[in-house]
Symmetry: C2
Subunit: 155 residues, 2 copies
DNA sequence: ACACAATTATGAGTAATTCATAATAAGGTG
DNA sequence: CACCTTATTATGAATTACTCATAATTGTGT
């Protein structure tokens, strides 16, 4: 009982996750709840981060099981998978809106960026060679404030 | 001498590649020229495709060497690497403009899409949390004309 | 509490790529 | 032109990030 965070908040979140899982025809398991909690608390986490976080609660969970759960939750729409170059896949619980991501090419940190227009696809490409576009994912690349400051200090 | 394509054209292209390589402080090797030719003739090719194409000319080249050459050419800016979900990295020689890509979620085919505005970054995100944006890569996902026709025929 | 399908665990396997080190070759120099 | 230096490529092994097949377990409706 050393936690300063009330268990009631967590219980409430888990109840919402449970409802969401059932709504997608999925069973409610401790593994799924723990993975959802982990990703909720560490947005853009990679699978390994999720394993570490989940093991605080379920010490014997295997890496493979976490991959299965992550894939299933992504397929059912409770998680979104983000693919960034030079990095394993990342996950987030923010799935309702079509937002984008900015990655720092120096340190790799990732920030959410709101969609330029607000709905998906938020961009209308010119000539798509007959393809019907459903989604436009934008990946901004640049330098974050910290890395810029560090680079200027080095001059 | 069964080729119907004049060797002079190829020689001219290779001379341009050679000049470009030297301009980037790189030595001109048969491996690099063959990789550049392969990617030029098969845009969006994956490493394995490049190995196959290059081996028509240099039968003993190893997969690892092709990876080294591809990485080096990408770093020096002669090639651009494209990362598409569910696919190994792809390469193209079109590096001068900031264009984007559309991938068919059914068959995986990739098409070039001109930049919405014409210069990089071609999109101005709203709030970047202090990050200075340099490039905006857009990945459109949708259904290509062929797959749409096939799906309709199946109804 | 039971049954049965959904889910997770276990152990192995794979694809794509990287790494360390040795051999080779490009290109400037004498 | 032969030589030397360093860049480049070859070789063999290793690694990362996942995936797969199958067995054990656990939710959930009845």
């Amino acid at each position: 009982m050393s936690s300063t965070v009330p268990d009631t908040e967590r219980a409430a979140r888990e109840a919402r996750w449970a409802e969401s899982l059932r709504g997608h025809g999925r069973r409610v398991t401790r593994q799924r709840l723990a993975v959802l909690e982990a990703v909720e608390h560490a947005p853009h986490a990679v699978a390994e981060d999720v394993v570490d976080a989940v093991r605080a609660e379920l010490p014997d969970i295997t890496v493979q099981s976490v991959y299965v759960v992550l894939s299933d939750l992504t397929e059912s729409g409770l998680l979104r998978r983000i693919e960034v170059p030079q990095s394993p896949a990342r996950y987030e619980t923010r799935v309702a809106d079509n937002h984008h991501h900015a990655v720092c090419s120096s340190c790799g940190r990732i920030e959410d960026v709101d969609c330029a227009v607000g709905h998906a696809p938020c961009l209308t490409p010119s000539d798509t060679h007959g393809m019907t576009i459903q989604v436009a994912d934008v990946l901004y690349q640049g330098i974050c404030a910290d890395c810029r400051t560090a680079a200027q200090a080095a001059d």
